[in-house]
C-alpha cells in the first residue's frame, strides 16, 4: 500500500517455515486444544446468549452459571452406547464425521492470531503457518468438509439423511462461489492471498488520490469494501449451515438431515464439534480479511503497546466473541428460509452483485496504478458496463415477453373454458345452466355464479 509503515513485529510471508519443529508442534497442539475448549465455551455461550434473547436464563444448573453444561453434554455423548444402525454403509458412516472434523481444524492453521512474539526464546509469529495462497486453503478446507456432510448423508442409507446431505452440498457449493468472490475485493486491495500480509495491509489506511484530492481511507476492509463484507457475512452463515440457512438439518422437514442416523454418540459429538469449529473458522476469516485481524480496534490502537507482544491475542479473542455473538443473534432473530429462496439469494442476488462490485473495485484499483493509461481503463470499464447493460436489457425483454406470453395463455384458457365447458372431454356442466339461475330469476343465491 501507499504509505504503510510496517512495524518490525509484523510478520510477513518470509517469516514462516522457519520455526523449529517443537515450536510448530506446540502451536498446533495449542490451536487444537483452544479450539476444543472454544467449542465447549461456544456451546455454552450460544445457549446463554440466545436464552437471554428469548427472555429466559438458559443452562444454569451444571457449575457456576451453567459453565459446565457443555462438559456434561460431552461426557454424556462419550459415555453413550456407540450405535451402528444395521443398514448403514459401515465404513463411510464411520469415516464421515472425521472427514467433517479434520478440515475444520486444519483451516485454522493459517489464521493469524498475533504478531511475532518470543516463545521460549524463539522469535515466532502467533500463527501456525502461512502460505502464499492461505485464504484459498481455508476455502479448500471448507469444500472438503462438505464431503463429510455428503458422506454422512449417503452412508446413513436413509432418505432423510441423503436429502439433508444433498441439500448441504448444493448449499455450500453455491455459497462458496459468492464467498470466494467476496474475497476478491480484499485480494485486489491487499495485493496478496497470504493471511498475515492481509492483516498487515489493514494496519493503516492508505490515502486515496482522487484527482488531486487526498482522501484518507479507513484501514479495515470491512468499511472500505462494505458490499464485500456484507456478502461475506451472508455467505458465512450459509457456508456453516447456520440459521437462517440451516436447511441441511431442517428438523421440520428432514428430521435431523444428514445427522439423522447419528444418534447421540461420540460420532455425533464430532459432527457438532466440526460445526462449531467451522463457525470459528469463518469468524476468524472474517476478522482476518475484513476486521483488521489481530490488530486492536480504534480507541485501543491509540495505545502504543496495543499491537505488540501477546496483547493481540486478546483483541483477536474479543473479536471472535463479537462475531460469534452475531451468529447467535441471527439465530435468535431470523426464521429459516425456504430452499428455493436460499438458492435464489445465492445465485441471483449475491453472485451478480458481487461481480458488479468486483468490476467497480477493479476499475478503482486500476486507476490507482501510477503510470496507467486511464483512458484505456475507462474505455474498458465503459465497454463492460455497456455489455452488462446489453445483457440485462436482453434478459429483461425476454422475461417481459415470457410474462406477456404467460398472461395471454392464461387468458386464452379462460376464454376456452367459457366457450367450451366440457374442457376437452371431461363432462363439466356449463357455468350458465338454466337451472342454476332459473329461467327468469336467480334461484340459487349462494355459489360462485
Amino acid at each position: 500500500m501507499n504509505a504503510r509503515t510496517l512495524l518490525a513485529a509484523d510478520p510477513t510471508l518470509a517469516d514462516f517455515g522457519k520455526d523449529p519443529l517443537w515450536i510448530s508442534i506446540i502451536k498446533a497442539v495449542v490451536i487444537f486444544v483452544v479450539l476444543m475448549l472454544g467449542v465447549l465455551f461456544g456451546v455454552w455461550f450460544e445457549r446463554k446468549l440466545i436464552s437471554r434473547m428469548q427472555n429466559r436464563y438458559g443452562p444454569n444448573r451444571a457449575g457456576k452459571f451453567g459453565l459446565l453444561q457443555s462438559v456434561a453434554d460431552g461426557l454424556k455423548m462419550g459415555l453413550k452406547e456407540d450405535l451402528m444402525p444395521r443398514t448403514v454403509d459401515k465404513v463411510i458412516y464411520f469415516i464421515a464425521p472425521v472427514v467433517l472434523g479434520v478440515p475444520a481444524f486444519l483451516a485454522f492453521s493459517v489464521i493469524p492470531m498475533g504478531p511475532k512474539v518470543s516463545m521460549f526464546g524463539v522469535e515466532t509469529p502467533l500463527q501456525l503457518t502461512d502460505l502464499p495462497v492461505a485464504v484459498l486453503l481455508v476455502l479448500a478446507m471448507a469444500s472438503i468438509g462438505v464431503y463429510g456432510i455428503v458422506l454422512a448423508g449417503w452412508g446413513s442409507r436413509s432418505p432423510y439423511a441423503v436429502l439433508g446431505g444433498l441439500r448441504a452440498s448444493a448449499q455450500v457449493v453455491s455459497y462458496e462461489i459468492a464467498m470466494g468472490l467476496s474475497f476478491v475485493g480484499v485480494f485486489l486491495f491487499a495485493g496478496t492471498l497470504s493471511t498475515s500480509e492481509i492483516v498487515a495491509a489493514q494496519a493503516s489506511g492508505g490515502v486515496l488520490n482522487l484527482g488531486g484530492l487526498q482522501i484518507p481511507m479507513p484501514s479495515w476492509y470491512m468499511i472500505l469494501l462494505i458490499p464485500s463484507f456484507l456478502i461475506y457475512i451472508v455467505t458465512m452463515l450459509g457456508e456453516t449451515n447456520r440459521v437462517p440457512f440451516d436447511l441441511p438439518e431442517g428438523e421440520g422437514e428432514l428430521v435431523g438431515g444428514f445427522q439423522t442416523e447419528y444418534s447421540n454418540s461420540l460420532k455425533f459429538a464430532i459432527i457438532m464439534l466440526a460445526e462449531y469449529v467451522n463457525v470459528f473458522v469463518v469468524s476468524a476469516v472474517s476478522i482476518t480479511l475484513f476486521m483488521g485481524g489481530w490488530r486492536a480496534p480504534w480507541p485501543i490502537s491509540m495505545w502504543d503497546g496495543a499491537n505488540t507482544g501477546w496483547w493481540p491475542l486478546l483483541w483477536f479473542f474479543l473479536k471472535m466473541v463479537l462475531v460469534f455473538s452475531f451468529f447467535v443473534w441471527c439465530r435468535a432473530s431470523l426464521p429459516r428460509i425456504r430452499y428455493d429462496q436460499l438458492m435464489a439469494l445465492g445465485w441471483k442476488i449475491l453472485i451478480p452483485i458481487n461481480l458488479a462490485w468486483i468490476l467497480l473495485v477493479a476499475t478503482v484499483r486500476a486507476l490507482q496504478i501510477q503510470d496507467v493509461n486511464r483512458s484505456v481503463v475507462l474505455i474498458l470499464a465503459a465497454l463492460v458496463m455497456v455489455g452488462c447493460l446489453g445483457i440485462w436489457w436482453r434478459f429483461d425483454s425476454v422475461l417481459q415477453k415470457r410474462k406477456e406470453d404467460k398472461a395471454a395463455q392464461i387468458q386464452a384458457e379462460f376464454e376456452q373454458l367459457q366457450a367450451e365447458p366440457t374442457a376437452g372431454g371431461f363432462p363439466v356442466p356449463p357455468l350458465d345452466l338454466p337451472h342454476y339461475h332459473g329461467v327468469a330469476r336467480k334461484e340459487v343465491s349462494s355459489g360462485s355464479n
Binding site: 434473547m53 429466559r56 436464563y57 443473534w329 432473530s333 431470523l334
Partner: protein, 171 residues
Amino acid sequence: MGATDWLNPIKGFGVTFHTMFKKVETVNYPEEKRPTAPRFHGRHQLNRWPDGLEKCVGCELCAWACPADAIFVEGADNTDEERYSPGERYGRTYQINYLRCILCGLCIEACPTRALTMTNEYELADSSRESLIYTKEMLLAPLGSGMEAPPHPMRLGETEEDYYRLGRNNG
C-alpha cells in the same frame, strides 16, 4: 407504519437485542417457589368436622365420578362404640392413586358432604408406584385445635341438628 417500513425484514434483530436487557420471567423452580392460583387443583384432602370426626360418609360418589378410576373407597358402618363420622357410615378404606389421577376435580364436585377438597400442594413426584397411592391417613386433614382423633362420639351439641348446625358454622 411509515418511513421505516423498508427496515421491517431486519427489525427482528432489534427485538432480540432489546429482549437481552429485559428482566427474565423464568422462575428458578426448586429454589424459588411462587404461590399457586387460589383455586389450583392440587393434592386431595379429606376434611373433618370441628370435633375431629371425618366428614367422609363412604358413599363412593367420588369414586364413581372419577373419569380416571383413581379413587378406591370402601365404606363401613359406624357403631356407637366406634364412631368415625356422624351418621351411619364412614369410609373405612380411602385411596387415591396419583399415577392415575388427572386432578380434574370432578370428585370434589361429586362429594355430598364437602369431605373431599383439593389443596394447593403440587409436589407429587416420587420414585415408586406404591408411594404414589395415597391412603386415608395421608389424605386426612391434620387435627386442628379442639379436634380429637376418631373414633369418638359426636361432640357438637345434644342432637344431630345441633351437630350439623355447629359444624357448618365452625367448620
